[in-house]
Subunit: 183 residues, 2 copies
DNA sequence: TCCTTCATGTAACTAGTTACATGATTAT
DNA sequence: ATAATCATGTAACTAGTTACATGAAGGA
């Protein structure tokens, strides 16, 4: 079976702690979603596929009459994950940003109209940085609650996001200054 | 008619200079593709749609018996573009990176296996920075050839890419150092 | 009582990529 | 000659999002 990026997100999260599809979504939303997002529409069918392939196993543990399927990574699943992680061949670092597109073409509008655009982008990145900081808190709380270890690499990657957005906000502030100066 | 991001990439590029679908792809590949990529599979159908909507107009100018449709933005097209550019409401800054995903889960492999991973990411960003610099050259050459002006905002956004990738490469070098130090 | 969270899943849709098909022109 | 570039387009596929449908448990 071919594994997609969504498969690896799921496998990776399950390698740290077993959980339901719902749990997976909750955790992904405060961690991997900043560099690889996944939705319920991918999670549930993918969990089924991974179970059939023997990479994860499921245990039914309903709360009263409310269903709950707890998934756990298998030895085969862990091997597949390790193989993928260790492979240095990789795709590109992809950025998709409508705002950058607008700015690139912003000579079609007047400089007075460009200013609010620049302020909006800077604000967006300041907010994203703050948001990520909060997410780091939540992520660590989950780990604490579950008694799982708080890995250095997790902290590093989450702080990466904060630093990146701070750098971006600063870059836009600088651009703003350069454009004003020019006039 | 609803305009997509691909529509605005096309409209934006045509606002600077008329050209064929092929031209558009060539230009996009050394400019907008770093924050919004488009493929032939989107360009040709989209040009048809935009023509029907009256936002661009087409002029047939074959070279011998080889077809060539040159598209030009209309007044309505320019207005639609301006409206979109001036709108400060925007989507998110999206990053998709398999390598970040691998690193996030890299505690499943040994530290000796993680090192080549870090080196690969750093190298990738150094190469991306060099690549972007070359693209800036190519983009400016096209402008020079066509006699169109070399806008400050273009230079800024293209240098944004170079600076971003340099920052990223440096960040990974720093991470590498921090992880080694810890051991 | 009512709102939020937990929980699972499918269906329809949108965006985007890749492969295919075709063929002329130009530079080496 | 022949390889690279110019040029247009469609078809099939893959990935991913959003909306819908359903309903229980828990807290305010």
């Amino acid at each position: 079976m071919e594994l997609t990026h969504a498969s690896y997100v799921i496998l990776g999260l399950l390698s740290e702690r077993p959980g339901s599809g719902y749990d997976l979504k909750r955790t992904a939303d405060v961690s991997t979603r900043h560099f690889w997002a996944i939705s319920f529409g991918q999670i549930y069918p993918e969990l089924k596929r991974l179970t059939e392939a023997g990479l994860v196993e499921v245990e039914k543990s309903p709360t009263g009459s409310r269903l709950r399927n707890v998934y756990r990574i298998t030895e085969a699943g862990r091997e597949a994950l390790e193989l993928w992680v260790a492979d240095t061949a990789t795709g590109p670092f992809e950025v998709r940003d409508e705002m950058l597109l607008k700015l690139f073409f912003s000579d079609v509008i007047a400089p007075e109209e460009r200013r609010p655009l620049l302020q909006a982008v800077e604000a967006r990145h300041r907010m994203a940085a703050a948001d990520l900081k909060a997410h780091g808190q939540k992520f660590r709380q989950t780990h604490a609650r579950e008694g799982t270890q708080d890995l250095q690499i997790h902290k590093e990657i989450l702080s990466f996001g904060v630093e990146l957005h701070t750098w971006l906000a600063d870059w836009y502030a600088g651009l703003h200054a350069r454009l004003e100066e020019k006039r």
